[in-house]
Symmetry: C2
Subunit: 199 residues, 2 copies
């Protein structure tokens, strides 16, 4: 996509750092911003710079935060006995929206993936072990994604916790609400069948 | 979507100025940039600021350009006798990729839309009339979109040109290549039938 000068090309290229944005979307966004919404583009540039300068990870739970300790970790009302471990900050928001969970979180920022060079250290495991060793936690809730990598990560953390005699739970697998048995993948159906509960 | 602080919320809100980005995509983009691609976010902020500061409209054809006169208008090899009128800068790129057109362009940056307050002045009509009055143009090619507004805009410009005895052409309507008659909308089929050509 050439022909409008290097600065426009550079903006199109830069927009492709956004997830789900290919060359065609980047072109559409570039024209939209420059033709229709220069104020929005300026706001976006400022918000990006501002966020990059001020948003870091909470030193305790590793979620994105403007302060050294995030609002959740600093909140004395939250139960320190429960620790819910998730892969991404968005999982924290999803769990808070769906449940009344009032314990602490720990954000891995990913899952174990040795082929990509993501090992325990990159996921903050030393920090997590230090938390375990404080002897405050009475339940570790593993809420990683039900993918191969998420399961492996949950298994790894589960062993770390059990070695310290901390009870570990995992989110239930089964049929999603509104789902139909007929269209369910066999893995989920098998887990739902094996995990059947008495009424 | 609350809970991670005002700067993150502000970035999510700012990303929604991009076309096709809703609250969920904005959240995903925010986490991706802050967790995975801070360099990309920095580049994007710089590219936006750079583009806003240096990219304006070509004073002759109104396309986005870094220089006062864009590379097309400054090119003496291009035929000044032909003027192709399009709605958006992306249409210029599309026509250049698909054809061997070597004349000049004029970018309206929209179409006539009285209800939205977009009249002839907002589309650069005075500038276009000044071009017509130079008595250089021998063909005006109307390449606005085949929508109601695009057709109305083409009709308006066509009348301006014809009043100055400049021949006007319009891109052909008909069956798109690879299309099937059965699934074609009746408007297009009717135009294709009426515009049938002898082999």
């Amino acid at each position: 996509m050439a022909g409008l000068g290097p600065k426009i090309d550079h903006l199109m290229e830069a927009l492709r750092c956004l997830p789900g944005v290919g060359p065609k979307s980047a072109q559409r966004m570039t024209f939209h911003l420059l033709e229709r919404n220069r104020d929005g583009a300026e706001q976006l540039a400022l918000a990006l710079t501002d966020a990059l300068g001020h948003i870091h990870h909470c030193k305790q739970c590793r979620i994105l935060s403007e302060t050294e300790l995030c609002s959740r970790c600093a909140d004395p009302q939250r139960q320190r006995q429960q620790l819910c471990i998730v892969e991404m900050p968005s999982d924290v928001l999803a769990i808070e929206q769906a449940t009344h969970y009032n314990g602490h979180f720990f954000v891995l920022s990913g899952h174990l993936s040795p082929l990509d060079g993501i090992g325990p250290d990159a996921l903050g495991m030393p920090q997590l072990i230090a938390l375990f060793d404080q002897n405050i936690i009475e339940e570790v809730i593993l809420a990683t994604n039900p993918t191969v990598e998420g399961e492996a990560t949950a298994h790894y953390i589960g062993q770390l916790a059990q070695a310290r005699n901390i009870p570990v739970t995992r989110l239930a697998h089964g049929i999603p609400l509104g789902g139909e048995l007929e269209y369910l993948d066999s893995g989920t159906l098998s887990r739902a069948f094996a995990g059947r509960a008495s009424l």
